[in-house]
Assembly symmetry: C2
Homo-oligomer: 394 residues x 2
């Protein structure tokens, strides 16, 4: 990450800092970091600082972290080009996202090789300052179950394979931080043990695991559930499935796509009742069509029709989403009546903690990266700072 010389003070509005909510406060930013947070009436020396005045009825929240995003604005992680990742990184601040895991798909191994190599190079040396930061890679598939493929092309599904994973993690220069897999597949346990030993987050979805298998997988190291409800065993009263394990086992963090399409709002509410803001993580799982017009787009070599907020592979199969984080943030409050502080936990704090990055991201606190979003009175994004630089203004 480049260093920044910009000195900025964000002041007024309502600041949702890590341990307090401050009215008439300020955040002092230097060299990309938060160096002071306090009340305006105690604001010390402001010379040399660019002052940004935020209207009183605006909210200042930590930047959102999307741990599951394939693409946006015409680009996709699987395009495997610097330009594609640049487009994503420069687009996402519009929706309040300041960091993300570039997420791969089930494609042939050459395509995955290239995507991992490209993302790794980008993270290591090509990121542009003042854009959303790629904080790692989410490997979604190919170690999944064909009966729960969803929009992951079945022909490229492979059995969990530690050697192949090691090769990929080497290509990715250790930037794979999260792996979505089907733990019940042959080789699943071995891969889970390896991931656990390596400190990589193992997640279940695209899986036929029964409740008992899901619980066993959690005991073996799974600590995350990918897009709850979608492409997994559901809640049946004689087999609660992966969803039941997500509800009942407090050791897992749980992704949900809160667009009201992948999961009906009432079920988001019910899930929130069970999982609470301690364990829920909002994601987009978006594909390249996000921020573009309705039309037909590619996803993993397949044609996806996007219309009215839905991305469909065919009549019955959703193919990722076109959800924006800012809308997930708004929707979760509408669906569950949760507080803005709860929503912040689910869009910033929980993903940062899950990726072991809470020392650096996930809240507005001293010494942390100045990843900050200003929301207007409609809860729309008014301004986004990435590592202290203005990445978007309305």
């Amino acid at each position: 990450m480049n260093s920044f010389s910009a000195k900025v003070i964000l002041q007024q509005g309502t600041i949702y800092a890590e341990n307090q909510v401050i009215q008439n406060g300020y955040i002092k930013i230097d060299d990309g970091k938060i160096i002071e947070v306090g009340s305006l009436n105690q604001l010390p020396n402001t010379s040399e600082y660019q002052i940004i005045n935020v209207p009183d009825n605006y909210s200042i929240i930590p930047g959102m972290i999307d741990v599951h995003i394939h693409g946006a604005n015409g680009s996709d992680t699987m395009d495997a080009t610097k330009e594609a990742l640049d487009v994503m990184a420069s687009t996402l601040p519009r929706e309040g996202t300041t960091s993300f895991l570039a997420t791969t798909m089930t494609e042939d191994t050459d395509a995955i090789d290239k995507a991992l190599q490209n993302a790794s190079d980008y993270i290591n040396s090509l990121q542009t300052s003042g854009q959303a930061e790629i904080i790692g890679i989410h490997l979604e598939g190919p170690f999944i179950h064909k009966e729960k493929a969803g929009a992951q092309p079945i022909k490229h599904i492979l059995q969990p394979n530690v050697d192949l994973f090691k090769k990929w993690q080497a290509l990715a220069d250790n930037h794979i931080k999260l792996v979505t897999l089907a733990p019940e597949q042959p080789g699943g346990s071995e891969l889970l043990h390896y991931l656990k030993n390596q400190g990589i987050v193992a997640s279940m979805a695209h899986s036929e695991a029964t409740y008992d298998q899901a619980i066993e997988a959690i005991e073996n190291g799974v600590s995350h559930i990918t897009h709850l409800f979608n492409q997994m065993t559901g809640l049946h009263h004689r087999d609660p499935g992966i969803v039941g394990a997500a509800f009942l086992n407090k050791d897992v963090m749980v992704e949900i796509i809160a667009d009201g399409i992948h999961v009906r709002p009432e079920m988001v509410k019910l899930s929130f009742n069970q999982i609470t803001d301690e364990r829920m993580i909002l994601i987009t799982d978006s594909m390249r069509a996000k921020w573009l017009e309705n039309g037909v787009y590619d996803l993993g070599g397949q044609m996806v029709t996007v219309k009215d907020g839905k991305a469909l592979l065919d009549e019955d199969t959703l193919a990722g989403s076109v959800l924006k984080m800012k809308d997930a943030f708004k929707n979760i409050q509408e669906f569950t009546n949760c507080t803005i502080k709860s929503a912040i936990k689910m869009t910033s704090e929980n993903p940062a903690k899950q990726l072991n990055l809470f020392n650096r991201k996930g809240s507005i606190a001293l010494g942390k990266d100045a990843d900050i979003v200003v929301l207007d009175e409609q809860m729309d994004v008014f301004m986004t700072l990435c590592n202290g630089k203005i990445a978007f203004t309305k």
Copy 2:
């Protein structure tokens, strides 16, 4: 109900009274009613009273109320004889049940006519003192959906019909207190409105109602869900079904068969998390084989095989249960880690309130019927009093 002359004092043990838990307390009973509840050291005059000393580590709880029970010990409500109801009423105190709704089944209308007439005669004039009291009739079917018939014979299913219901309620001398139906069936709304106007509890199950239909039915008067999960639309993330309505809508009380067979213990726990002890009601839904050996028994003219705690119509279809209330009471504590006070709410207080009988039953309180169960240190039934008379001792 006959009057009693017996004067009894139950003393010591732990008394779970309506608003307090009393160690070293006493309950004074006269003429079938609770006339004093207090601490032993304040016990006034005991002359003329039979004293029952309860060991210190025993628990004294209100009698359990089973709002959904077809049969026990070889007899069934549909047998339509005084003897059958006598067998049920004299057997159930063994399991801690002191009141119940005699529950009918989907059979031909003649059989239902007879069962209603018989139960009505029994309630009006034939009940024996010192047995479990039949506090009304639960009409389960025939106004249900054939796709969710379960063990209700499909050939006798009828569409909801207000005129037929009126005829039955007349035969039953207004003792039908609860009706299980499929509200989405033609005529469902009309019957719901009629039941609501009559103050009869309308309940959903054996129903294909979608979530939206379930919510509409609740708005139209449904205030109860029969055997949650069994024979109804389940929790799907794009249609939460009747189960979702039960979880999310605070206006309904919810029956559950807590035998660990009809619903897996983990799902009982998950349901309890959502529904809480404010709205959950434990039932048995038991058939005549309860308290008998394994074997083959009749249910609604069908052969049911009972083995290892399961009553099966065929390999995949449960046909009621052989669950005893005392075991439901124990199981719910084991499955959910709830307190004994919570379990009491679900076996006594909630069913009494739902049937508008809490002025008379459902707790240990002054002026109420002396329906009392003494549990030993294993939570097994040591003694049961029905309306102040000892109906069972171990």
